[in-house]
């Protein structure tokens, strides 16, 4: 089984602008993944499919993930002039990390009985640049799964033969699996005294729920 480093090396040779990055996985299983630039994704998949040693022929799983914008606090030591002396002062810098949507693919090889190879792709942002290439023409198993990602996360797959909502009805406008999705205000009371639910119940009865 080829390691991911070898794949990146080979792909770097044959693909002009591969834009591959190895993503580490700190969990005990340690299955790492490759972050691929959307422009070279299909080429990389074809390369891995045609490689004799890797020979992926089975796309098992397609997952969408939402990473909303978040503020990452970073502590940096900055040299400052304090009372004429140069001093190191710890400062907290707040970086606004732009949100994006991610798609993760798990590939296996049935012929070699090996895998998984995990590839991931990211969109530019969460609103406008949400188009990614579709893998359905190469692997039919992505058909329903990409439709699911489109339905629940709102990622548009270019080249998908029949991209429309799969679970929700066509008139539905939201992308419910996104982290900032607001549920419709449709239940009245909850006997369990969870604070979150109680606040919600109160809002419901007072009638000032924005989702109503």
């Amino acid at each position: 089984m080829k390691s991911l480093e070898e794949i990146i090396k080979t792909a770097g040779h044959s693909l002009e602008k591969a834009g591959l990055e190895l993503i580490d996985n700190p969990s005990p299983c340690g299955e790492r993944s490759i972050l691929v630039d959307p422009s070279s994704f299909l080429a990389l998949v074809e390369l891995m499919r045609d490689d004799d040693e890797i020979g992926i022929d089975y796309l098992s799983n397609v997952t969408g993930v939402d990473w909303p914008e978040k503020i990452v606090k970073e502590k940096v030591k900055v040299k400052e002039m304090v009372d004429g002396k140069e001093k190191e002062v710890a400062q907290t810098i707040e970086n606004n990390v732009g949100g994006y949507l991610e798609v993760i693919y798990h590939f296996y090889s049935v012929q070699h009985k090996s895998g998984p190879w995990t590839l991931r792709m990211r969109t530019g942002d969460r609103e406008e640049k949400v188009t990614l290439p579709s893998i359905t023409p190469i692997f039919q198993s992505a058909d329903f799964q990409e439709r699911e990602v489109f339905d629940l996360y709102g990622i548009r797959f270019e080249g998908h033969p029949d991209l429309r909502r799969i679970f929700m009805w066509d008139e539905f406008e939201d992308y419910p699996m996104r982290k900032d999705y607001e549920d419709p205000d449709d239940y009245e009371y909850e006997p369990t005294p969870h604070k979150k639910v109680l606040v919600r119940t109160q809002r419901h009865y007072e009638g000032n729920d924005p989702g109503k």
Partner: protein, 204 residues
Amino acid sequence: MLDDGLKSELSKQGIVTTTFEEIYNWGRKNSIWPLGFGLACCAIEMIAVSMARYDLARFGAEVFRPSPRQADLMIVAGTVTKKMAPQVVRLYNQMPEPKYVIAMGACAISGGPFKQGYNVLKGIDRFIPVDVHIPGCPPRPEALIHAFMTLQEKIGRQKLQGENRAPHTRSDMPSEFEVPQYGAHDLTPTKNTQEWVPPVIVRS
């Protein structure tokens, strides 16, 4: 009108007396035809009830009809999603009177474990009237049999005349309800306000 004492005395002598209402209800309650209509997990228990071990045929209710036009009873067996709710209401509307509904399982009653879900209807009684609720996730087959017996009792008590007569004998009671439409964020309307009133919880 014979009183109960005389009735039992006569039956000891081999004379059966009855009223039209009683024999009508007796016939109805022993031949309930359910709609063969499963939504989720509970449907498997519903099938199990009609199979050999639990044998629903003992209650005259083993004739599961695939068409709502031939059914008396709708067993809402499982989670009703918002996408499915219009179809459930439409099926109810298509059933001929008199018709009954058993809400089987926590999901059909209130959304159950999936209550937090954005696509889950929080109880089918928001759209159609329910006669018997059975809690459980899923209810055991015995619980469904109990629901059948409760329904049989309910049918047996129904009056054909007078003030409290059965809904299907009254022209002013609705037998069809509004089918909700798919909206941009939720169903429209989200509930049948004439039929369903939210429970009032008094916290001490």
